[in-house]
C-alpha cells in the first residue's frame, strides 16, 4: 500500500529522515504504525518494557521522571516532528521515563523489526538515520547537563546554602 502524500511530507520534516530519498521514505512509512492518544492518556510508564520509538505527528506529549509520591519532574515536552523512546528501541532496556499525552496526539511508532528492515534493505538511509540520531543525542546530552546544573542551582537557591563562604 502506497503511503499518503501528506505522511511523506511530514516525514521529510522529521530530523531523522531529512536525508532520506523518496523511495527510502516510502519504505520507511510502510514500517511505521500509527497510535492515537487522548489528552492525559499514558503511553507508557517509567520501568515498562518497550522496543519502539515514537514520532509525534500531531499534538504533544510530556516526558517525566518520578521524583516522590505523585510528583514527577518534567524532562521534555515533545512536539510534532520530534521523537522519543529511541533508547529502549536501541538497547531493549526498560523505559527510563513516563510519557503521556499533553493534548490529543497522533504518534508514529517504529519498532525493532521495522528498524531492522530499514538497515537490511536501505543501508544508506539507515546510516543517515543513525547519523542524525547521534546529533540529536548530543543535543539532548547537552540539555541534560544544563538541566542538572539548573537543578543544582535551584537546590542552592532554595536552601540559601552559602557555598562560597564555606
Amino acid at each position: 500500500m502506497r503511503a499518503p502524500a501528506d505522511l511523506l511530507r511530514f516525514l521529510r520534516d522529521v530530523r531523522l529522515f531529512t536525508r532520506f530519498a523518496e523511495p527510502e521514505l516510502i519504505a520507511l512509512a510502510e514500517s511505521l504504525h500509527e497510535r492515537r492518544l487522548r489528552k492525559n492518556q499514558l503511553l507508557f510508564r517509567e520501568g515498562d518494557p518497550g522496543d519502539e520509538m515514537f514520532i509525534v505527528r500531531q499534538g504533544a506529549v510530556l516526558v517525566s521522571k518520578a521524583i516522590r509520591g505523585r510528583v514527577e519532574q518534567v524532562l521534555d515536552h515533545v512536539r510534532p516532528a520530534d521523537f522519543f523512546g529511541e533508547m529502549s528501541l536501541l538497547d531493549g532496556s526498560p523505559r527510563s521515563a513516563t510519557v503521556q499525552a499533553e493534548a490529543d496526539a497522533t504518534l508514529l511508532a517504529l519498532d525493532r523489526v521495522g528498524l531492522q528492515r530499514l538497515t537490511d534493505t536501505n543501508p544508506r538511509a539507515a546510516a543517515a538515520f543513525f547519523h542524525a540520531l547521534v546529533h540529536v543525542f548530543i543535543e539532548r546530552l547537552r540539555r541534560s547537563t544544563h538541566q542538572v546544573a539548573e537543578a543544582t542551582r535551584w537546590g542552592l537557591e532554595a536552601t540559601g546554602l552559602d557555598v562560597e563562604s564555606r
Binding site: N40, S64, I67, V71, Q73, Q100
Partner: protein, 406 residues
C-alpha cells in the same frame, strides 16, 4: 558586569486521583520561603545575653557546641533563631516577624541563615590589608616575593588543641592563687611600689639609658626578646582564668600574625558563655602580668648601680612592660585587645569597632549623614580617640628609641 541569572525554576508534574495531572513551575524562591529550617537540638548550642547600657537593642552570643564557634545575634535575629524549629516555614517565620516587629527586613532572614549555616561560625583569622595589597600586585617581583615569604611564615603555627587538661593541672597546682583577693592586693602593691620607683628613675632617664653605652641596639633587642617571652606568660594567665571559671581553653600556640608579627596566642573564646565578671577577669588578668613584670623591672633598676647596663636594661624592660599593660587595657586603638573586649562587654556593643569604622567610612564617602544618637556619638568618639592614640603611641616609641640610642 556579570548579570545575575533569574531564579532557577523546576517544572514538576503532579498527578491527581484520576488520569489527569497538573504541570507546575516551581521557582527556587518558593522553595526557599517554604523550607523549614531547623536549629540544632537542645544541647548543641548555648545562648548568652550581652547586656548593653548604650545600644538600644539587646544582643546575644550564640555558641555552637559542635564547632565551638560564636555568633553575635541581634534581638530580632534571636527571635528568628527561636522560630527555626523544623516545623515552621520561612514564610511563616517572616509573618511572625512582621507581627512582632511591625516591619520586615528582606535581607535579615537570608543573612541570618547564611551566618547560621556557616556555624563553623565566625572565622577569627584577621584579613590583612597588606596581604590584600600584595595579592593585587602579584605581577611585581618584589610583591610576589614578600607575599611568598609571608605565606611561608603564616604556615608556621606551633599549637595544640589538647591543652585543657594542662591548664586544669596548672590551675590546680597553684594557678588558682592568681584569682584570689591576696593576688589582687599584691598586684596593686606591685603597681604602687613599681610606680614610685619608675617616677624616681624617669627623673634621671638620660643617666639611666647611658648604661647601654655602645650596646644600645643590643640592649633594645634583648628587651624586646624578654618582652616576647612575657607575652607567652600573658596568654598563659588568660588560659588559667578561663579554666578558673570552668570554661574550656580551646588552643594555645605560637604563630606569625599577618605573616610577620610573631606572637603567642590562647583561644579562650569559650569564656563568652560565662558571666560578664568571668569575661572581664579573664581579659584583665593576662594584662596584669605586664604590671607585675614592669614593677619588678623598675624595682631592679632602682637598686642597680646608676648608669649600669643592668639598670638601663631593667628600665627599658619596665617601660615596655607597662606600655604593653596600657596598650592591652586601652580600648581605643583599632586593635581588639583585652581592654577593648572589656569595654565593649561593659557597654554591650560587641561589634563596636566594625560598626564605628563602617559608620565613619560611610560619613567620609558621603553615604551616611551625621547623626547624634548615643551610638553614633560612641562610634565617632571611638574612631577619633583611636586615631589620636595611635599617633601618640608612635610618637612615644620614636622618643623611646631615640632616647635609648642617643
Amino acid at each position: 558586569m556579570t548579570e545575575r541569572p533569574a531564579p532557577a525554576k523546576l517544572e514538576l508534574l503532579v498527578r491527581r486521583d484520576d488520569e489527569s495531572f497538573e504541570v507546575r513551575e516551581v521557582g527556587s524562591a518558593l522553595g526557599f520561603i517554604q523550607s523549614r529550617p531547623q536549629r540544632g537540638a537542645e544541647g548543641s548550642f548555648e545562648v548568652s545575653e550581652v547586656r548593653s547600657s548604650v545600644a538600644a537593642e539587646r544582643s546575644f552570643i550564640l555558641k555552637s557546641a559542635a564547632t565551638e564557634r560564636f555568633l553575635v545575634l541581634s534581638e530580632p535575629e534571636k527571635f528568628l533563631w527561636e522560630q527555626m524549629d523544623g516545623n515552621t516555614s520561612l514564610q511563616e517565620i517572616a509573618t511572625a516577624y512582621v507581627l512582632r516587629y511591625g516591619e520586615f527586613d528582606f535581607d535579615i532572614i537570608p543573612n541570618l541563615i547564611r551566618k547560621l549555616q556557616r556555624a563553623r561560625l565566625l572565622t577569627l583569622e584577621p584579613k590583612s590589608r597588606l596581604r590584600q595589597a600584595l595579592a593585587r600586585n602579584r605581577g611585581q617581583r618584589v610583591a610576589k616575593a614578600v607575599e611568598a615569604t609571608l605565606t611561608s611564615l603564616e604556615r608556621i603555627n606551633l599549637s595544640s588543641r589538647r591543652v585543657q587538661s594542662v591548664f586544669q593541672r596548672l590551675h590546680r597546682w597553684g594557678g588558682f592563687v592568681l584569682f584570689t583577693r591576696a593576688a589582687v592586693v599584691a598586684c596593686l602593691a606591685f603597681g604602687v611600689i613599681g610606680g614610685v620607683a619608675a617616677v624616681a628613675l624617669m627623673r634621671a632617664l638620660d643617666d639611666v639609658f647611658s648604661g647601654f653605652g655602645g650596646r644600645a641596639l643590643l640592649g633594645v633587642l634583648a628587651v624586646k626578646l624578654l618582652f616576647f617571652a612575657s607575652v607567652a606568660l600573658h596568654q598563659l594567665v588568660h588560659g588559667l582564668a578561663c579554666v578558673h571559671y570552668r570554661r574550656r581553653v580551646r588552643e594555645f600556640g605560637f604563630a606569625f600574625l599577618h605573616g610577620f608579627v610573631p606572637t603567642f596566642y590562647v583561644d579562650v573564646t569559650d569564656i563568652f558563655m560565662a558571666t560578664r565578671r568571668a569575661r572581664v577577669v579573664t581579659a584583665v588578668s593576662g594584662t596584669l602580668v605586664h604590671l607585675v613584670l614592669g614593677a619588678v623591672a623598675f624595682l631592679v633598676a632602682a637598686h642597680a648601680p646608676v648608669g649600669s647596663f643592668t639598670q638601663a636594661f631593667a628600665v627599658a624592660s619596665g617601660i615596655i612592660q607597662w606600655q604593653a599593660l596600657a596598650l592591652s587595657l586601652y580600648p581605643f586603638c583599632f586593635i581588639e585587645m583585652d581592654g577593648y573586649h572589656v569595654f565593649v562587654d561593659l557597654l554591650g556593643v560587641p561589634t563596636l569597632k566594625h560598626d564605628a569604622v563602617s559608620y565613619v567610612k560611610a560619613l567620609l564617602r558621603g553615604r551616611e549623614r551625621l547623626r547624634w544618637g548615643r551610638l553614633e556619638a560612641l562610634w565617632l568618639a571611638y574612631v577619633g580617640l583611636s586615631s589620636l592614640s595611635i599617633a601618640a603611641f608612635l610618637a612615644f616609641n620614636v622618643w623611646i628609641v631615640v632616647s635609648a640610642v642617643s
